[in-house]
Symmetry: C2
């Protein structure tokens, strides 16, 4: 595996179809699953980018305490089969104060946008830079950031990037908590409370698969699992269409049920995707509950 | 020469360094000079795009009457040595209503931005699409659109596109009028009045080369040449820095002196670039007056 710091080196080292796995580092099995997917898809070169992008953090957010550990990430990336690890300094990404911003409307205006103004423009701008500077053939993103995935699909089509966007399943701890680099900031007590997000979503997944199609009823199941949990503050629970991220009162198309909550000092998000089975008119939906690890996560090994 | 309608075909036909000449069609020697420059630079494939981009026209602008003639352009492009002519339909460029906009601040906030709100975002978005979808190594733009050139340089750096931006000189008719596709919309009388823009700029070029460094004095020379011309309405005359497009009271760095005026029903722009010779402290500047045709232009042959 080569570790490089410039876009030019990444391009120079790309052979065959290039698969890109963009990350902010502090890797877990969610990120690593994309590397395996890229290998399976036949990408000739798997590039992982590792950059904590200041543009996508608000002034009151956790940029300063976002976990970072390049040595740890380097080992995990190499073991997973990354060919090129692109870990740029701030100067490579923003040699001068940037004047250019990629603004996405539509799917970038709901849910997270309300709680994190400017987040999607910052994310869209850096993803555009990665696509422009690396010229990948495929790029891998997690379904955990369901809205981000919708925004990136929209941006990729709108800007005519010839990049296939691949969405990977959510990877969960054995107790259901979705893997996130931010989980290392949870206290032991908050860690237990945080598993409530998944429990609520699984209850809603059961209901949706049993035929419940009323959005508010599905949302209520998630809220119920989090109610009266000390230290858990729900930001939103919402059923939204998968492509446009518009609130759905009736589950009648591909959708995701999303939850965002502050648990202790950490803001967590999670969701289940709900996809119609066969003809939508049949009203049958199947839930993507993600993948549960049957072993300890690399996040459990040591932590900070 | 191949004429293609999709980004995928353009990429499929690119060999060696790809040079891109973006145009809105109705070609003249300004556009064709970029093709020659690309040939001289050693580009393996010269791609010319031809698309009248609705996003960069305001609601009261001349989108509907912008001149179009694909057969004429095809012949001129082929004769000039274009390898691939990319003439997409609206459906290829905007298959769905786009949600994504590339917004440039800094150099895109002065001069034209005041008269044409939304113009630069529309232009920046379509140029981003061309760079994303074609993946050129070099791209050629005219110095006539001096501010556009500054905005594109900014956007290219900010978005990490590995594209070298080449600015070509202004090509002028024998009487000095800068070539523009819009010139075909000038009446015979307006055509004569329009040459005043160039005459004013040349007077200012003489003054600058003789040592005049006061911005307002240079601007006054351009205004004087246009004053009392019937049918000519000056929009702005301004000395601006070449990279940031900030107004200069003192000519002390690379700059351009720009004029915009409505002549009859047509809005025209023109400029001279002023570049320091040797050490800026010497105060010597040389004007780029463009290139005058010593023959009739392809714009004179027939018209519409």
């Amino acid at each position: 595996m080569r570790v490089v710091g410039t876009f030019a080196e990444v391009r120079h080292n790309g052979r065959g179809p290039v698969g890109l796995v963009p990350t902010m580092g502090y890797l877990h099995e969610g990120h690593l699953s994309h590397v395996h997917a890229a290998r399976q898809a036949g990408d000739g070169t798997v590039v992982m980018s590792l950059f904590v992008n200041p543009l996508q953090f608000g002034p009151d957010e956790d940029l300063a305490r976002y976990p970072r550990d390049l040595d740890r990430d380097r080992t995990l990336a190499e073991d997973a089969g990354v060919d090129v690890l692109f870990a740029p300094e701030l100067e490579e990404m923003y040699p001068t104060r940037p004047n250019t911003r990629v603004e996405v409307g539509g799917p970038a205006t709901a849910l997270e946008a309300r709680s994190r103004p400017g987040h999607f423009a910052g994310m869209a701008t850096v993803v555009t830079k990665l696509f422009a500077g690396i010229r990948p053939d495929r790029a891998y993103f997690g379904r955990k950031d369901a809205q981000q995935l919708a925004v990136i699909r929209r941006l990729t089509a709108d800007l005519s990037f010839p990049v296939e966007i691949v969405g990977g399943p959510i990877i969960r701890h054995a107790d259901g908590l979705a893997l996130s680099s931010r989980n290392v900031c949870l206290s032991a007590g908050d860690r237990i409370a945080a598993a409530g997000l998944c429990r609520g979503l699984m209850a809603a997944a059961d209901a949706a698969e049993a035929g419940e199609r009323h959005g508010p009823a599905l949302e209520a199941l998630v809220r119920a699992a989090l109610m009266a949990k000390p230290g858990v503050h729900v930001d939103y629970v919402e059923l939204a269409s998968a492509d446009r991220v518009e609130r759905l009162v009736e589950l009648d198309r591909p959708a995701f049920l999303a939850v965002a909550a502050r648990v202790g000092a950490v803001r967590l998000i999670d969701n289940i995707h709900l996809d119609p089975v066969g003809n939508t008119a049949d009203g049958k939906f199947v839930a993507d509950r993600g993948v549960r690890l049957d072993r300890a996560s690399v996040m459990d090994a040591g932590g900070r």
